[in-house]
Structure formats: structure tokens, C-alpha cells
């Protein structure tokens, strides 16, 4: 069995734009903005970058296919540049390309760029999935939306654990309330207003049982990371860098839909990816060892089941931890300290890198108002697709 990439890759600089409705900026503008922050942070110039990856999902209709929009916007000097896409996990996929390049010795310094400009469709929510699921599926599957696909997991979860609709919605509401409280502290977040449980529970239904405040923001934005070997990191940054402890991804084999053992209350790819990530990082007891979480809270229910899928909360008991404030900023294991997808926003290709950005800030004690005390391991969870048919990345980060 391969030993993995633990401590073989360092993050020496990161950038992240404000997420939100950036009507006056193009995807190219957003990439230049996050890239400028990252190179400045790393103390390097464009010519130091040897390879680059660009993660983008739906935005190809806007920014165009291939990695050329990235190399062209950033004026990368004829270096290898590759576009990757894995639904909402595209940002982490971009990071994985850059990290693996450094870990393999193919290059010393690489760029992982993520960007998405979603607000040029003319309507709210994500672009229509009818165009994104393949020619046969659009003739077979319902006209699915992301909230609908995840709402089906809430229906199942409530049913299995005997929660009434109100009890279930209240548990979910607390998740959103926590993320709004965190987002309000974050100047780069899309949604910066605190909300109450009552507001969340009363919000208009988007997809039964999920209401508006159970859904994350749909945003424009970019985030990027510059990765290097630990030796170069030490030379450039002294101790001011973090390393990748684990980076794992799992894509479904189709079992959830095609083979009927899956009970619909969890995400199988999260369980698979996190199990491997813990092994790679050498983590034995996630509930005790992980300091903070940046989860793919596209919907409140996703965050709820992810607590369980990551072996943080016992199966079926996430509600107890939520009620106890375990995941609040002042709790034992803060979740979404930057506001998460819920409030920081969700420009798809950028989200995985935005999660890493928050881990980076927290681990280097740069998170200002929302700084967590002495974090050791920070975990990112970046989920693409739907619970029934998904791809999931889990990253674990720490100081060297």
C-alpha cells in the first residue's frame, strides 16, 4: 500500500476573493484577484510557478472550456495548465492535481486555482442539471435540482430517526444559525447577517422539507493555493506554512442507486473518503483529534449527516452534538468557522479551495475575530453530485 502524501506538500500562499454577486467582475477578474493575494502571500512571482490546475464546474459556459482561461488571465508563461471538473468537488480536485505534482517530484511549486461565476444565468439557484447529467439521464431522470436531491436525504433521515418535520427542521435550523453567526464575522463572506432558529424555520420552502435558509448561497468567487515542497516552504516562509496531512477522494460505484442497501441517511462517498483520509493522516479518533471542520454544507442536512459520516458524531446522534453547541465557534469542534458554503457562498469551482483557505488562516492564526484556539488538524469536506450519486473529497491539514 502506498504511503500517501502526508507532509510531502506544503501550502505557502493562498488567496480568496470576496464571494457574492460580483456583477462587475468576470471570472478572469476573480482569478487575477485571488492569484494576486496568493503570490503576495507566498512571496513569489508568476514565473516561479511551474504547473497549474484550474477547477471550474458549471462556469464553462461562461468562462469557456479548457484551462486556457486560467493561463491566459494570469499570463502563465506556457507552463502545464489543466482544467479539472468534478461537480461541486472541483476546487479540491484542482488542489489535488497541484499537490500530487509536487508530491511526485514533477515540479517544486504549483498553483491550484478555483473559480466560478454563477450569477450570469439570469435566474436564482444553480444552472439547470438537465444539461449536466448526460444525454440519456436527461430523458430518464426527474428535472432534479440540488436542493431537491439533498432534501430527499432529509426526508429519509427524519423518517429513520423518528424526527417529526418540526423536530428535524429545528435541528437543521441550528446548523444554519451557527453558520450565519460565523459568516457575520467574515468580511469576505457572501451572506453576513445573523439569523434566528425561528427565521430559518419560517423561511419559504425550496424543496420540502428544506427552506431557503437551509440552502447555501449561489455566488461568484475565486480561491487559489500555491503549493510547494516542504523544503522550499521552509526556505521561503520559515514556519509560516501548513502541510497536507491527507487528501482523499471517493466517487460512487453506483451502489446507492443501483444496489438497494443504502438507506438514504448518509453519504457513502464521505464515509469512504474520510476513512482513507484518517488513515493517511494517522488520525485514530477523529472526534478527539480534529480541531475544526470546513464541510460541504450546500444544505443544512448535508452538514448534519456529514458530522456522522466523518465519525465525529455517533450515527443518528448529530442532533445531540448540534444541540450541545459542539460545532459552534466556541464549541469543541467549530464547524464552518468562515460561514461555510451557507454564508461564505458557493462559487462551485472555488469552494474546495475556499475551505482550505480557512483551514490555512486558522492553522496560521490569521483568522482574526473567528480565530480558533490552537487548532491542530483542520478538515475539509468537498462533496460533488447528489447523496444518491456523489463524489467526495476529504482533506486534512496541519502545521508541519
Amino acid at each position: 500500500m502506498a504511503e500517501g502524501i502526508r507532509d510531502k506538500v506544503a501550502i505557502i500562499g493562498m488567496g480568496c476573493t470576496k464571494f457574492g454577486e460580483q456583477w462587475d467582475k468576470s471570472a478572469e477578474d476573480l482569478m487575477v484577484d485571488s492569484f494576486s493575494e496568493a503570490t503576495k502571500d507566498a512571496g513569489i512571482s508568476t514565473k516561479d510557478i511551474e504547473m497549474a490546475w484550474m477547477g471550474v464546474c458549471f462556469d464553462e459556459v461562461n468562462v469557456g472550456k479548457s484551462a486556457i482561461p486560467c493561463s491566459l488571465a494570469l499570463k502563465l508563461p506556457f507552463i502545464p495548465c489543466t482544467r479539472v471538473e468534478n461537480f461541486c468537488a472541483s476546487g479540491t480536485e484542482s488542489f489535488r492535481g497541484a499537490a500530487y505534482a509536487v508530491a511526485s517530484g514533477a515540479c517544486d511549486i504549483a498553483l491550484a486555482m478555483g473559480v466560478e461565476k454563477l450569477k450570469d444565468t439570469g435566474y436564482g439557484g444553480l444552472p439547470d442539471f438537465g444539461q449536466a447529467m448526460g444525454t440519456r439521464n436527461r430523458m430518464l431522470l426527474p428535472n432534479i435540482t440540488a436542493p431537491g436531491a439533498f432534501a430527499m436525504m432529509a426526508t429519509r433521515y427524519f423518517e429513520k430517526y423518528g424526527l417529526t418535520r418540526d423536530e428535524g427542521k429545528e435541528a437543521l435550523a441550528k446548523i444554519s444559525v451557527k453558520s450565519h453567526a460565523n459568516g457575520a464575522k467574515n468580511p469576505k463572506a457572501h451572506l453576513r447577517r445573523e439569523v434566528t432558529v425561528e427565521q430559518v424555520m419560517r423561511s419559504p420552502i425550496i424543496a420540502e422539507p428544506l427552506g431557503l435558509f437551509d440552502c447555501c448561497g449561489v455566488s461568484d468567487g475565486s480561491a487559489c493555493a500555491i503549493v510547494a515542497t516542504p523544503e522550499i516552504a521552509k526556505k521561503l516562509k520559515g514556519d509560516d506554512f501548513i502541510t497536507v496531512k491527507a487528501l482523499q477522494i471517493a466517487a460512487t460505484s453506483g451502489e446507492e442507486l443501483l444496489y438497494t442497501d443504502w438507506d438514504g441517511t448518509y453519504v457513502k462517498t464521505t464515509r469512504e473518503a474520510s476513512r482513507r483520509a484518517y488513515a493517511e493522516a494517522g488520525i485514530k479518533n477523529p472526534r478527539e483529534e480534529i480541531s475544526m471542520l470546513e464541510l460541504h454544507d450546500c444544505f443544512s442536512i448535508t452538514e448534519m449527516v456529514t458530522f456522522e459520516d466523518l465519525q465525529i458524531s455517533p450515527i443518528g446522534k448529530a442532533k445531540e452534538d448540534i444541540d450541545a453547541g459542539f460545532f459552534n465557534l466556541d464549541g469543541k469542534m467549530p464547524s464552518q468557522p468562515d460561514g461555510g458554503l451557507k454564508c461564505f457562498g458557493h462559487p462551485i469551482g472555488a469552494s474546495g479551495l475556499r475551505m482550505i483557505y480557512e483551514c490555512y488562516l486558522q492553522l496560521l492564526s490569521r483568522a482574526g475575530d473567528r480565530q480558533i484556539k490552537d487548532p491542530k488538524f483542520a478538515l475539509t469536506h468537498n462533496l460533488g453530485g447528489f447523496p444518491a450519486m456523489s463524489v467526495c473529497s476529504v482533506g486534512i491539514f496541519g502545521r508541519k
Binding site: T121, G122, G125, G130, I144, M152, T155, I205, L258, T260
Partner: protein, 484 residues
């Protein structure tokens, strides 16, 4: 012996009270007060004549071997395609074998009886041993007119064969006249008519007796021995019984106040209703009217008592929901365009080459079952998804459309575009295995319950106006009663 071997019906669950039409349009046409009685069946937003015909056909052949069907005759004046054989679409949806002679029979309201005669001709000629007749119509009356009240949507099906005949075919008689009581030119949406008194006095009251007496004379039938006569007209025709020594109870009810005038389907629907109540030995006469007339004579056999109960007129009439909004009716039937928003405009482009390649999956809901571990899977797979099996290329076709299941989970989505928000969809675990991700229809959110029993219904999935494509597939509906 040649004759009927099975029958079925399909009536959309939405029923519109005629009073609600009158309340909306009576200000313009107060004369419609007299006909604003009872209710009519109206298509849901995802139904048309083709989808209804397929469901009637599925109800008709339920539990029977479809492999013996050699002909499919589809009667309707409201088929979705002028060119592209609608009957071939229906044959695909019903997963009939490809060696089927399929034909659309259209153009006039006697198309239903003409289709039955065509099927029987083919059987008598020995061209095939079984032929399926589907009849459906969903005609539109212009708002403010009488037809808006009268027309209803429905479908019916009859299977003809040479074995296990429940009603023997005794003969037919046909007349063709260009009696233009109603017409609809190509590309037009609504029917037009000539004066009703002329239709009654110069048409119906002359042509019908000529046809019925002609049939009786030709086949030596004493009208007095007729048990049921099904005259496919949306009115009580018992007034004409005296001349022919037929008492009023011998006239099969035309369902005008429950279904409405379902055009070319009415003759077949009334026949199905008559068969539901028929006893061995009963003589049943079916009369189709429109651009002439057809008469068919049947006599029920002992076999009729042996045919397992099936979903026909009674079960379909019982499965109803009142559509309280006249505006919904106008939107669902396509009379009125609505603002779909940009999300609703985004075309679900269909690749017809993909539809052809995957027609059994998309149109007939045929998936695969692993021959090694017996796991049914949908859509079709080449490598078994059971992690303990993963057998490669060991699959056999496996049909889901005729099976029931139970609801695993669902949502009601206000973001997804549908003509009837919210879009309800979910996962269904099929009896015998297999999990399907399906749209739901004919259900309200409040009635959706995890684990509720469901079955499948053939529906129009989308209309791609820009490319002139109506896309069809199966949706899930709450499981209904088998039959009476």
C-alpha cells in the same frame, strides 16, 4: 374463434366540474348553462392522447403475455405527431416485440371502431393471432363554447385474439359519409362545428339507424336480442330505442357527465364498460359515429367469467381528483401559455439517436437484472452494481414498468420547473428489487408518505417546442386499486 380477449381503460384523475367552466365563461355564453352539469375528465399537465393510450394498453395487457401481440392499432384525432408513427411509440412504450404491424387510425371520431375492425380483419385474414387496439382523445373546445364543456379526455384498449376469447366477434357493418358535423383542419387546436339541429336531424337520426339496421340485417341479428348497445355519442340515445325495440336500459351509458366526450376513444371506452358487466351469452353492439358510422357485434362467452379482474372503467372512474381551478385546466391543456421563467425555458434537448439506442430503458422502463446475483438495476448496466458480485456482461433485460414498489424517499421541489409546482420526485424501491429515481404525478404533497405503495404510469416528460419533440417516459403514481 376470433374476438375480444381482454380490455382496459385509462381516465385521467383530474376532473373539472362543468360549473367551474360556466363560472369562468358563463358571462360570455349564458346558453351553456344547460350543459354545465357534472364533470369531465381532463389530462394532467403531463398527459396527452398518446400517454393515455399507453396506460390503457398497459391496463389491458396486464398479466398477459405481450409477446404474442402482432398488431397495434392506435385510434385518435389528437395524436402528438403528424409524422412519426404514434402507434410505434406506443408499441415501444408497451415493450411489444418489434415484429408488430402498427398503425395510427385517425381523421374522424369513428376511428375507434375502425381500428377495431382493422384489428379483426387482420386476425380473420390470419395475419396475426393477437392485435391490440388503443383509442384515446383529448380534444379542446375553445373557451366560451359548448365543446369546452362537452369534451373530456380518456383512453381505452381492447385486445383481440383467437384464444381465451371473452366476447366473440359476430360481424361488422360500415358506412362512410362526408357528413361534416365537426372538423379540425391540420395544425388547428380547436374543433369547429355546423349547426347542432342539422347534426341531429340530418345526421345522427338518419345515419345511425341506417348503420344499426344494416348490421342487424347483414348478420341476422334480432335487435330485440341485443343486451347492450354502445352508441359512441355524448348523449342519452335511448330515445331512438323504440324504433328498434330496444328498451332504455339496453343503452350503455355514455359517461357524458363523468368523463365527457372522449372522441375516438368513446366507442372503445363504452365497450370496455359493457364488458365489465357482461354475462356469458350477452350480445353487445358497438356503434362509432363520425364521417359515417361503424357497427360491431360481439357475443360474450363463458371465458368472460375467467378473465382476472383488471383496471377498466369502474376503477378509473373511482380514481378521481377534482381540479378546482379552471385556470389550471387551461394551462395543463395548453390553451394558455404561462411565464415559465428562464429556468423553464432552458431546453431539455433530446438526442433522438440516444432515444433510439436506449428506447427500451427510456420508453419502456426495461432495465437489467444480473443473471449471477439476480439484482435488478436501472438504468441498464453492463457491470453488476452489487459489490459482492460485479459480474460483467451477465445481464438480462428486466421490466419495471409493470411492477409496483414503495416510496423510499421524496421531495417537493419549488425550484425545478414544472407546470404544476412543486415538482415531486423521489426514489422508489421496486418489489423484487431495483431502485428508481422518478418523477411523481397524480399526487399531492400532503399524500406523499415514505413507504407508501406506488406504481408506474406512462407520461409525457417534456415538450421541446424548439425542436418539435414530445419526450415520454414513466413516472410514479400512488398505487391504485386493481379493479372491481
Amino acid at each position: 374463434m376470433i374476438g375480444i380477449t381482454s380490455y382496459g381503460a385509462y381516465i385521467p384523475w383530474n376532473r373539472l366540474q362543468r360549473q367551474s367552466i360556466f363560472q369562468a365563461m358563463g358571462w360570455y355564453s349564458p346558453f351553456t348553462y344547460g350543459i354545465a352539469k357534472g364533470e369531465k375528465a381532463v389530462s394532467n399537465h403531463d398527459e396527452d392522447s398518446l400517454s393515455m393510450a399507453v396506460n390503457a394498453g398497459a391496463n389491458c395487457v396486464s398479466g398477459l403475455d405481450r409477446g404474442k401481440i402482432g398488431g397495434l392499432f392506435l385510434a385518435s384525432t389528437t395524436l402528438p405527431y403528424d409524422e412519426r408513427m404514434n402507434a410505434s411509440i406506443a408499441a415501444t412504450a408497451l415493450d411489444l416485440k418489434s415484429q408488430v404491424s402498427a398503425a395510427d387510425i385517425t381523421g374522424g371520431l369513428k376511428a375507434g371502431t375502425t381500428a377495431m375492425i382493422s384489428a379483426l380483419d387482420a386476425l380473420q385474414a390470419g395475419r396475426m393471432n393477437q392485435a391490440l387496439v388503443l383509442a384515446a382523445d383529448s380534444r379542446l373546445g375553445k373557451p366560451g363554447g359548448a365543446y369546452e364543456h362537452m369534451f373530456g379526455d380518456a383512453a381505452a384498449a381492447v385486445l383481440f385474439g383467437t384464444e381465451n376469447v371473452i366476447a366473440e366477434f359476430k360481424g361488422s357493418f360500415s358506412l362512410s359519409y362526408d357528413f361534416a358535423d365537426q372538423r379540425r383542419a391540420s395544425g388547428e387546436k380547436f374543433n369547429r362545428n355546423w349547426e347542432e339541429r342539422w347534426i341531429r336531424d340530418a345526421g345522427i337520426s338518419k345515419i345511425l339507424p341506417e348503420a344499426i339496421m344494416g348490421a342487424a340485417t347483414k348478420h341476422g341479428v334480432n335487435p330485440a336480442n341485443i343486451s347492450k348497445i354502445c352508441i359512441a355519442l355524448p348523449a342519452d340515445m335511448s330515445g331512438m330505442g323504440k324504433k328498434m325495440m330496444l328498451t332504455p336500459e339496453k343503452f350503455q351509458e355514455s359517461m357524458v357527465n363523468t368523463v365527457g366526450d372522449c372522441g375516438a376513444a368513446l366507442s372503445v371506452l363504452m365497450l370496455a364498460a359493457a364488458l365489465e358487466d357482461a354475462k356469458p351469452g350477452d350480445q353487445i353492439v358497438v356503434v362509432g359515429f363520425g364521417s359515417g358510422a361503424d357497427v360491431l357485434l360481439f357475443q360474450a362467452t363463458e371465458e368472460i367469467t375467467k378473465l382476472p379482474a383488471r383496471r377498466a372503467v369502474k376503477a378509473c372512474l373511482a380514481n378521481r381528483k377534482e381540479l378546482t381551478s379552471y385556470e389550471k385546466y387551461k394551462v395543463f391543456s395548453g390553451i394558455e401559455d404561462i411565464e415559465t421563467g428562464i429556468r423553464g425555458e432552458a431546453p431539455a434537448a433530446s438526442a433522438l439517436s440516444v432515444l433510439w439506442k436506449d428506447r427500451r430503458a427510456i420508453m419502456a422502463y426495461v432495465g437489467t437484472r444480473c443473471k449471477e446475483c439476480k439484482t435488478p438495476q436501472f438504468p441498464p448496466q453492463r457491470i453488476c452494481a452489487n459489490p459482492a458480485c460485479n459480474a460483467k456482461d451477465k445481464m438480462e433485460p428486466y421490466s419495471f414498468a409493470d411492477k409496483k414498489g414503495k416510496l423510499f424517499t421524496f421531495t417537493a421541489d419549488m425550484l425545478a420547473f414544472t407546470f404544476d409546482p412543486p415538482a415531486i420526485y423521489g426514489l422508489v424501491d421496486m418489489d423484487g428489487g431495483g431502485r428508481l429515481w422518478m418523477d411523481f404525478t397524480d399526487v399531492e404533497v400532503k399524500d406523499m408518505k415514505v413507504n407508501m405503495p406506488v406504481e408506474l404510469s406512462f407520461r409525457r416528460k417534456y415538450v421541446d417546442k424548439g425542436r418539435g419533440i414530445s419526450g415520454y417516459s414513466w413516472k410514479a403514481v400512488p398505487a391504485g386499486k386493481e379493479a372491481n
